[in-house]
């Protein structure tokens, strides 16, 4: 794939390569996965390939073009919780849909979500929790956002086995997604 990117470098505008080439391909991969034609290992390989491709073109992309993105998302599993496979899948799918995703891992202190969101100018924060005992962390992040006066400028999406729409409503999250595909759909709804 890198060979193809190298070949295209001289002939096409880098933004075109990324948007009409890599991102298009990634989108197709996402669609085929949802249809059950491709599996997770394929999606993850494709995401890695896309990252490598974008990396190879980084120097050629003009600074001003950086702003034309679908959205910046900070994703993580809340403090005290080490379950992150589902969240990793969501990050990959969001990336494949064209979002700029910063996955800050698992067992992430509440504060770190806020700091990272500030650092990358995030449009959305995704919060995952798999245990009822750590679910509270999702509320803590939303409360801290409000305290910092950031709540209105940033969307919050929650997910994870014990999370529900009712819980999302209760804590004031913008949306709840039951799986990775739904996460992508809802993110597109809220951010585009």
């Amino acid at each position: 794939m890198l060979a193809a990117v190298e070949k295209a470098k001289g002939q096409l505008d880098p933004t075109v390569i990324i948007e009409s080439g890599l991102a298009e391909g990634m989108n197709k991969v996402g669609t085929l996965f949802e249809r059950g034609k491709l599996f997770l290992p394929h999606v993850m390989m494709a995401a890695d390939a896309m990252t490598a491709g974008v990396e190879a073109l980084k120097d050629l992309v003009p600074e001003s073009k950086e702003g034309a993105k679908m959205g910046v998302i900070v994703n993580g599993t809340v403090e005290g919780d080490v379950h992150d496979i589902g969240k990793a899948i969501v990050s990959t799918m969001l990336q494949s849909a064209g979002f700029e995703v910063h996955d800050i891992g698992r067992d992430v202190p509440v504060r770190n979500f806020i700091d990272k969101a500030k650092e990358v100018n995030a449009n959305m924060i995704g919060l995952s929790a798999l245990m009822t005992t750590t679910l509270q962390g999702q509320k803590d992040v939303i409360d801290l956002l409000a305290e910092e006066g950031m709540r209105d400028n940033i969307k919050v999406m929650i997910g994870g086995a014990p999370a529900t729409q009712a819980w999302a409503d209760k804590i004031g999250a913008d949306c709840y997604a039951e799986n990775a595909s739904e996460a992508v759909a809802k993110a597109k709804e809220l951010l585009i």
């Binding site: 059950g36 599996f39 997770l40 290992p41 005290g80 080490v82 496979i85 589902g86 899948i89 067992d107 245990m131 009822t132 005992t133 679910l135 509270q136 509320k139 086995a161 014990p162 529900t164 009712a166 799986n179 990775a180």
Partner: protein
């Protein structure tokens, strides 16, 4: 003619046997496990636990938090781990004797997050579980003759966010059943509170609480190959207090462990053994069960189906592995 003729040297199979391995194959898994415990080793996120491993002869890298456990320490620990111990209920008749290769015991499912409530014939409503559901299920398990002890069936979601949810859960079960309670997903910081409840149950007699454990704890390593801070804390505190520990791994083959089932058994084995080794190094003779909920990972849907055939194969394999090590086993089932 004698009235009671018997056939000599007649071997019987008391029921169904699913024997997946020869002794040589089990050894192969064991050797692979030992290799994995050296390379790459186990990530132990808790500083106190790393210190215990270090003091007992393991190679510990503080930077990467990797602990390499040599075979002789595993063997030593397994020598110390008891092959049988009793889970106590309120009365002796409710006691469960956990034994390696012994009788098969049954517990209820744990831990769910929703309850399916009956509304009318053919009509059901699925809602979040609450503390009262735990009480009712505990009473039901109390009545059910086929259930030997009670595991935490569902989560007390009405306590979520209010603090000490897990302590309320153990209290609710203990006060609603005469059988032993198996706590699932205990919180390291609260083990002392669970212990206080047990001691209070025995009228303040801590010695009796230790000799007659009224509750036990299920603790999970994190796949692949990690013992988190919470897991280490639960193991160390539980071992010191004599609370039986079920070191149970839920690796997902293709997700958090190798896609080949044998490979999954190896990493699963390394995770569980490292937890049991920590328990024995902390307090020799700490009662431990070799646990598994390990299953496959659905690479199409990104879920962990516990009803998959692979879970059955893995559970049967785990039982054999546990017997190989002389440990009682606990596996995910129906």
């Amino acid at each position: 003619m004698a009235q009671n003729n018997a056939v000599a040297g007649y071997r019987t199979l008391n029921g169904v046997e699913l024997n997946l391995f020869t002794p040589e194959e089990l050894k192969a898994i064991h050797y692979a496990t030992i290799e994995v415990m050296q390379n790459p080793g186990i990530q132990v996120s808790d500083a106190e636990a790393r210190q215990i491993f270090k003091e007992n002869g393991c190679e510990v890298d503080e930077e990467t938090q990797i602990v390499k456990i040599p075979e002789y320490i595993v063997r030593k620990a397994l020598q110390l781990a008891p092959s049988r111990f009793t889970l106590w209920g309120r009365e002796k008749k409710y006691n469960t004797l956990i034994e390696c290769g012994g009788k098969v015991h049954w517990t209820c499912f744990g831990t769910g997050v929703k309850m399916c409530k009956y509304v009318a014939p053919g009509q059901y409503k699925t809602i979040d579980s609450v503390d009262n559901d735990i009480a009712e299920i505990a009473k039901l398990c109390d009545w059910a003759e086929n259930i030997d002890y009670v595991s935490l069936p569902v989560s007390a979601r009405d306590w979520a966010g209010k603090g000490a949810q897990d302590v309320h859960e153990i209290f609710t079960v203990m006060t609603n059943t005469q059988k032993h309670f198996h706590h699932i997903d205990p919180v390291g910081e609260n083990v002392e509170y669970y212990w206080d409840l047990a001691v209070a149950f025995y009228g303040g007699n801590a010695e009796m609480a230790k000799q007659r454990p009224i509750f036990s704890m299920l603790v999970c390593p994190t796949s692949p190959l990690e013992l988190s801070v919470n897991a280490c804390q639960v193991i160390m505190k539980g071992a010191r207090l004599g609370i039986p520990l079920n070191v149970l791994s839920m690796a997902m083959s293709g997700g958090s462990s190798p896609v080949y089932l044998a490979g999954t058994l190896v990493t699963h084995n390394a995770e569980v053994l490292s937890g049991i080794v920590l328990a024995q190094l902390t307090n020799p003779g700490a009662p431990c069960m070799y646990g598994s909920s390990t299953t496959t990972f659905d690479l199409k849907k990104g879920t962990a189906p516990v009803g998959s055939p692979e879970l059955g194969l893995i559970s049967a394999s785990v039982a054999k592995l546990a017997q190989f090590y002389g440990l009682p086993s606990f596996v995910a089932g129906t």
